[in-house]
């Protein structure tokens, strides 16, 4: 990307992000931002470590439950509730990772799916989760005891801040020496091992980071929509994040964000299309797989910014 074009794009996106609550319905944008962060966290694993997790809903939904419980029942302030949610997701992620990290490809996907199904079962059975009704009416509270998050704008900028923090962590991780090692492991694991890197330790670290960020997304979403429910931990949510990432573009900085916004917009607007939702969704996936395999960002971004083709490995560029 030419430096100039990148700068303009950055300015436009930042302006859009800041102005969004005045242009669009804030809750819609907030929900999309949470899912975008979720997709970025997921893509850290798929796009850079090459591991397809089919159980990320466990971290997203698990964190939402923990945050909901902490805030509603134990009266945590919102910032602590979110930290608790993300920490719980990281803990869960280290258990998942410890069990699954030695497997690859479809077997890795299946182990994460199986573990996530157990989390979903727990969420259905455990007394504090409220069964399929979920934990409803979670208070948003006052941030640091000062800012009333019930105000839509306050909540929006808080969510935007959470997203920017999460996104920055992902970019930082990818562009750090750590990121280069995990990419090297993805390209050629035996070689990375022979160079003295402990591949499994790096993969596990990436997995836990991804889980924690997915948890951050889930916890934030819980405050936005003010509830945690079974659909958050359902396997279809795990499937949805895969779709968002693929539709947007795997392993591109903005791909998961674009994918999340596209899917959430689709869900929102197609909902009014009544019973045709799933048919239209299905057709879009088919078209994407047949024609847009590198995702929206992977295909379109190079045209917009004057690059001939998407580079095989993403290079550092600000959002």
């Amino acid at each position: 990307m030419s430096r100039r074009a990148g700068l303009w794009w950055s300015i436009a996106l930042i302006a859009l992000a800041l102005a969004a609550p005045f242009l669009f319905y804030p809750v819609f944008v907030m929900r999309a931002l949470c899912l975008a962060l979720f997709a970025c966290a997921f893509d850290l694993l798929l796009g850079y470590v090459g591991l397809l997790s089919f159980g990320h809903a466990a971290f997203y939904g698990g964190a939402a439950y923990v945050t909901a419980h902490c805030v509603k029942v134990w009266g945590f302030p919102p910032e602590l509730g979110i930290v608790a949610g993300a920490a719980a997701a990281a803990l869960l992620g280290s258990v998942f990772g410890w069990l699954a990290i030695r497997r690859q490809g479809i077997y890795f996907a299946m182990i994460t799916l199986a573990l996530a199904q157990m989390v979903a079962f727990f969420a259905l059975q455990a007394p504090f989760t409220g069964g399929e009704d979920g934990i409803q009416a979670v208070p948003r509270g006052r941030l640091l005891g000062l800012i009333d998050l019930n105000h839509p704008l306050a909540m929006y900028y808080f969510v935007l801040a959470m997203f920017v923090v999460g996104f920055a962590i992902v970019r930082r991780a990818v562009n750090s020496p750590f990121g280069q090692v995990i990419t090297a492991i993805r390209e050629n694991e035996p070689r990375a091992v022979s160079l003295g890197y402990r591949a499994e330790r790096y993969k596990l670290l990436a997995f836990v980071l991804s889980a924690a960020l997915a948890g951050l997304a889930g916890a934030t979403k819980c405050l936005v929509l003010q509830f945690a429910a079974l659909s958050d931990v359902d396997w279809t949510t795990s499937g949805e994040v895969v779709l968002m990432t693929l539709v947007g573009g795997v392993g591109t900085p903005l791909g998961p964000v674009v994918g999340a916004f596209v899917i959430v917009t689709m869900e929102n607007y197609l909902a009014q299309a009544g019973s045709w939702v799933t048919v239209i969704e299905g057709l879009i996936f088919i078209v994407c797989v047949l024609t847009f395999r590198r995702g929206i960002v992977g295909v379109i971004a190079p045209c917009l910014t004057g690059r001939a083709a998407a580079p095989p490995a993403p290079e550092p560029s600000p959002p």
Binding site: W8, G131, G134, Q136, A137, K221, Q226, F227, A229, E267
Partner: protein, 405 residues
């Protein structure tokens, strides 16, 4: 790419965003909007779904299409049984699209989530599709009314009548979900209050295809009545497989706690015959219901379920209350709704309690034998009418603060 051109595309993106946003916000302020938030595409699409939108539109048309000098518009959306989707649609409807009232709200988790949104935004919701009595119990909200039925009325209807008819020992096959547990809990209380006893229960995960194992357990319990505390496809499959395993032929009886006329139609009389169930409405009750149902049938090619009919009734009464109150203000409309009896050809002898439950007559039906039926939709015969104060009597009291305090 030169620098000047590089700025054009990002700027165009911003401009496009502004245009889209401007277009989206352009709602004419002088319309009254009613939202139908239903499961359009999944498990419960047949009992509510697109048919609910049709029923609400019929009510709007019958009312005359405008109120307080404003046009009435019906908007609808598919909540996909996901509370987060439902909640964000409801918020957007209330905050942005000028929706004054939301109806249908099938499935409890969706209704509970939307009820919280309505509470926060001080808007009216009239719940027709969800069963959980928690909506008017511990989660009750001042601006919502639970219109057609709830787990308590289903339990009282089927539970009490069946025990009185001699079915005094029960075994439950329960959907392992909050509404299933609520149905089982409320029915158990009714059965025991009427001198029956519950021999056991088995919790079945939602969307289980095969019930034979659970039916065998029910069979071995030797209970006279097998209570099906489930809904939709689960209820259909359990009834179908009970027939296959000769449960009914073996002397045990099924009691469907949440079975709709669409389910019975789908099963066919051969399989469903003899099943006892409770409904708030049946198309073939009298001339008025038949006349209205015929109009509904002409549009949808199906007879209405109690959820769809309830949506008609709720919309009609809401619009009348708006007219009487002369205002769209939620508190004023709810006050108006609660001040008068609710009595039309769908909801009989009703009035709205402080907790938001609409207390009205319910009916115990038995599914006809194939030989008794004269037409495709001739499915039920009336066993008993349950007066509202009996049907909606909570055996364990109510946790709603508005009632307690």
């Amino acid at each position: 790419m030169n620098g000047r051109f590089a700025a054009v595309l990002p700027a165009a993106l911003l401009a496009a965003a502004l245009l889209v946003a401007g277009g989206a916000g352009a709602q004419s302020p002088d319309a009254v909007r009613i939202g139908v938030l239903a499961d359009m595409s999944s498990l419960y699409a047949d009992l509510g779904g697109p048919g609910s939108t049709v029923a609400v539109q019929m009510a709007v048309d019958d009312f005359g299409g405008s109120v307080l000098g404003k046009k009435i518009e019906v908007v609808s959306a598919d909540h996909q049984n996901k509370p987060d989707v439902a909640s964000s649609i409801a918020r957007q409807w209330f905050d942005e699209k000028g929706v004054q009232m939301i109806t249908d709200l099938t499935t409890s988790s969706v209704a509970l989530a939307v009820q919280e949104v309505a509470r926060a935004d001080n808007k009216v919701i009239l719940v027709n599709g969800a069963a959980s009595s928690d909506l008017t119990g511990k989660a009750c909200a001042p601006t919502s009314v639970h219109w057609t039925y709830d787990t308590v009325s289903l339990a009282n209807g089927t539970g009490a009548a069946v025990v009185k008819a001699g079915g005094d020992s029960w075994f439950f096959i329960t959907a392992d979900y909050a509404f299933g547990h609520a149905l089982e809990r409320d029915t158990t209380a009714v059965v025991e209050a009427n001198g029956g006893k519950v021999l056991g229960a088995v919790n079945v995960p939602l969307n289980t295809a095969d019930f034979s194992s659970f039916l065998l357990q029910a069979q071995q319990s030797k209970a006279k009545i097998i209570g099906l505390a489930n809904a939709g496809g689960d209820a259909i499959n359990s009834i179908k497989q009970a027939a296959e395993f000769g449960i009914v032929a073996g002397g045990q009886k099924l009691a469907g706690l949440l079975v709709f006329v669409s389910d019975v139609h789908s099963l066919g009389l051969q399989t469903a015959q003899g099943l006892q169930l409770t409904e708030a409405f049946y198309w073939d009750q009298d001339d008025k219901t038949r006349a209205w149902s015929k109009r509904f049938f002409d549009k949808t090619h199906k007879e209405p379920t109690m959820v769809q009919a309830g949506n008609y009734s709720a919309t009609m009464h809401y619009l009348e209350a708006v007219k009487a109150a002369g205002s769209l203000d939620s508190a004023a409309v709810i006050k108006e709704l609660k001040s008068k009896p609710i009595d039309d050809f769908i909801i009989r002898n009703g009035h709205i309690h402080d907790d938001g439950s609409l207390v009205h007559d319910m009916y115990l039906y038995e599914v006809k034998k194939p030989t008794e039926s004269t037409a495709e939709w001739d499915l039920y015969k009336l066993i008993a009418t349950i007066p509202g104060d009996q049907a909606f009597k909570r055996p364990r009291g109510n946790e709603c603060p508005a009632v307690k305090g």
